[in-house]
Assembly symmetry: C2
Homo-oligomer: 377 residues x 2
Amino acid sequence: MPLPTTAHLAARHGRIHQALDELSLGALVVTAAANVRYLTNHAGSAGVLVLTRDAAHLLVDFRYREAVERLQASAAACPDLRVWDVPASYDEALLGCLQEIGATVVGFEAAHVTVARHDWWQRNTQGRQLGIGFRPTERVVERARIVKDGSEIETLREAARRLDAVAEAALGAVRAGVSERQVAAAVEAAMREAGYERPAFDTIVASGPHAALPHYRAGDRMLAAGDLVVLDFGGVLDGYCCDVTRTVSIGPPSPEARRLYTAVYDAQQAALAAVRPGVETSAVDAAARQVLEARGLGAAFGHGTGHGLGLDVHEEPRITRPRADVPSVPLLPGMVFTIEPGAYLPGFGGVRIEDDVLVTETGCDVLTAVPRELVSL
Amino acid sequence: MPLPTTAHLAARHGRIHQALDELSLGALVVTAAANVRYLTNHAGSAGVLVLTRDAAHLLVDFRYREAVERLQASAAACPDLRVWDVPASYDEALLGCLQEIGATVVGFEAAHVTVARHDWWQRNTQGRQLGIGFRPTERVVERARIVKDGSEIETLREAARRLDAVAEAALGAVRAGVSERQVAAAVEAAMREAGYERPAFDTIVASGPHAALPHYRAGDRMLAAGDLVVLDFGGVLDGYCCDVTRTVSIGPPSPEARRLYTAVYDAQQAALAAVRPGVETSAVDAAARQVLEARGLGAAFGHGTGHGLGLDVHEEPRITRPRADVPSVPLLPGMVFTIEPGAYLPGFGGVRIEDDVLVTETGCDVLTAVPRELVSL
């Protein structure tokens, strides 16, 4: 997929400039790798960005120098970029940059800077009398990222679309007598084949009793007749994550397995039907939860209904019950997230069904097209 | 591989208990996932541990409850474990636990707790007058992890040993006309086949000019005659990471490519020869660096010589030039790290050769057995 262009990045910078004004900050130090990438297209695992009203100061070490030069010679160049060399410590280089550009009131990402790092900044700015004050900020870049722009939607659509072929390969590998790990290997080979740069998370193949463990990964257990098998996988395409879950039956499902599947299926349909602009994230969660509660499966659904997708595989918005630390927010067109209710019965097994959706002006587009009916293999 | 046993974990707890005494702490809150795993065998992506002199309080949510119960019924059970249920927020549950056990002077991992999280703890302990004081600590568990115990060495040896078969598959996939991405797919399929649970990091296949970018991953470039190709990969086996790099030539190498390869090879040999107990990490780095400097390649070697391996793919010790933020430490038997000098010439290409070593009583064991001579394919 084409990278976001200079124009996309300029629009993103504009949203951060506005936040700088609102918060009376001269600069924002961006340290979360996904946030640095969002604002610069620099995809390295290291790199610090200092964004001011008139420049994007990117601090990178030797390993990334040539990659950044290439980027700047392309249509995906970061506007107003100034590259700063990091010969040794990123924190030393950061203080040098802030001093040279004359920043005094500097925001930082409180959710991404450790206490140890912040202490070092404080000690060294005070010790050297640099006259720099650090101010904690919350979710400045994340708030911008929560609504996807055209470039991101194009990439997320394509990422989700390619899961079709992967799901086909996954179902082809599922049969009695193969191990969970072998199925996971087939899934990941198919993801590479489909052009994903890597899995977005550890592939889950949870069979039989393991299907009752929502975050089990894949082990040596051999799939056996009568199992429900939860397959949860996703890939990263040009930095953007997709995520899908299907649950299949090895041989004809038992009445109990079918009941569980139908309940989760209906819960997912209810949540999908609830998605449209203005609806609260907590209401989408409630739509799924009420269906499961009505079937006596409320306690069997212990996790949230979904999570945002983007440069991170778990980002905002969170589709959960409202909690002090996860406030409910109204949906906006351009948000992309998963809808993934599940029900887990210890000892018996479990079912989860997950799709990726884009909020549109009137409702939602389901980006993942993998068939959703219970398949017996 | 068998998991660390209750006895291994008890010995690890013993080292932390000693640190609690030295630091006059009643409890240590462990939030880094690898540190939680090291002390409990709990391998979930969430989980907080509160370690006191007489108990290991593990806070986990619904998703991990059953997995923890299974663990506790096995030979890998965590000693003195008390499981605390996390119904919603980990931080709420943490304050509840600390209050109930009567902890007042509580250490936390300053390098793993964000400013935002710490602020929340402070605000809520003060607001509720809980009488809990949080004290930053540095590297308490990391210091214990830097020397591997018998269980860890066994797993790290096996993890490195299995790279042999992966390297063979990698070399089998390298030829003119295939893309970097296809080679990376073959490497990752071979890693799954060899039993690794996942790649330890994004596989690097950097060909031709890309080989001059030390942290390039793998793209659409087709391998071509005359290329040097840097292959850097590793897997995770039962949580433990291995990491190897080989550089191969497509067709006969040019004299310049051969010169570069020989310089890096000799630098690596010099570093390997320097490894034994009591030698400083900076001296191992210097051994490699001096060889490259003597060949006029000092500036072409912009990164450190190596990094520790364990539950993290980059951990202590760091084999680098001494820096304020990365102090040099004397080697001890049981340390495991990479030796990976490289030389990168923009526009031309690059060479890196990387092996994993275990410090023994008298020198080191090289854990990776992949042939190290320049291969032409």
